[in-house]
């Protein structure tokens, strides 16, 4: 019944004018850069909040790629990523009426998706942050004169696909923090809260993830040269 109103998306006022739906609660943040307002989103949210199925589908199509990519990068597994994308949107459906526009909708939704993934991993009994990885740096993380003699930097040598592959090869604990911080733009305090670890722990895991990536990327770069 409300399908036809979607085309006039931008003209429909927010249901709570005092709290515009696109208002950002946080200062400048990578989340903002990555979550620009999407044309038609406000109207679709308002209608979906009233139970309009077609508008919910519009929201799904607007956000499925971001949510799925997030799940896939965090989990490294297509089947699980699809299951959890489904779960995230079902949860969105249950909770959309509670969205009040304190943050951008996409920020709100992505945080929900992150929580769905983390809940899933907790249920599986997997540690979100590996303590061994944190407390005992393995040799490959350790110092580290290894590349100095070649005086070679990675700069300019990696493309997106190579980096994607290297991220997939990270141990789950490292990958989680790396994806949340460097790819998704969450701050350490947010990650610490999500993973229920200390901020120092989050920083340390991120550092180790980058160190491991450096090794993986150098190996890949060497492979290319050798080939």
């Amino acid at each position: 019944m409300t399908k036809n109103t979607l085309r006039t998306a931008e003209k429909i006022p927010s249901p709570t004018p005092s709290q515009p739906l696109t208002a950002e609660a946080r200062p400048v943040h990578q989340q903002q850069r990555r979550n620009p307002p999407i044309a038609g989103e406000l109207a679709a949210i308002a209608l979906a909040q009233q139970g309009d199925g077609a508008s919910f589908e519009v929201l799904y199509n607007m956000h499925k790629r971001r949510v799925y990519s997030l799940c896939l990068r965090m989990l490294g597994n297509v089947a699980e990523a699809e299951d959890l994308t489904q779960e995230a949107f079902l949860q969105l459906h249950r909770k959309i009426a509670t969205f009040r526009g304190d943050s951008a909708f996409s920020t709100w939704l992505h945080r929900m998706a992150v929580n769905v993934v983390l809940m899933h991993l907790r249920k599986k009994g997997l540690p979100l942050v590996s303590l061994e990885e944190t407390l005992e740096p393995s040799q490959e993380d350790g110092p580290r004169k290894d590349f100095g003699t070649r005086d070679l930097t990675l700069s300019g040598s990696i493309d997106r696909i190579t980096l994607e592959q290297a991220v997939e090869e990270l141990p789950p604990g490292y990958r989680m923090v790396f994806v949340l911080h460097d790819v998704e733009g969450y701050e350490h305090n947010e990650i610490a809260e999500m993973l229920q670890c200390s901020i120092g722990n989050s920083k340390s895991q991120l550092h180790k993830a980058r160190m491991r990536l450096r090794i993986l990327l150098r190996q890949k770069a060497d492979g290319k040269v050798d080939a």
Partner: protein, 87 residues
């Protein structure tokens, strides 16, 4: 610029152990005396900064299969039916 100076592994180690914290305070990192004189650690820091910068460019590129939306629809319509029955 870095001026060449041989650093002991211990000096490099101590510097690298501080790195996780230094990355968050960019001034702290760039001003660090060790970086001005250690080629090895400078190259390490450049690489890690480069990796972080490249990661920001990893945009979402994967789409879920159409089955995902079909499943969502199935669940939602089943819930709607159950809801109607119980009300």
């Amino acid at each position: 610029m870095t001026s060449d100076r041989i650093h002991t592994p211990r000096e490099c180690d101590e510097f690298q152990q501080q790195l996780p914290g230094l990355f968050d305070s960019e001034h702290g990192l760039q001003q660090h005396a060790h970086l001005r004189t250690c080629k090895n650690c400078s190259s390490l820091v450049r690489d890690l900064e480069y990796i972080a910068a490249q990661a920001k460019l990893l945009l979402p590129i994967h789409d879920p299969s159409p089955a995902v939306w079909n499943n969502i629809q199935t669940v939602l319509s089943r819930q709607a039916k159950d809801g109607n029955k119980s009300s």
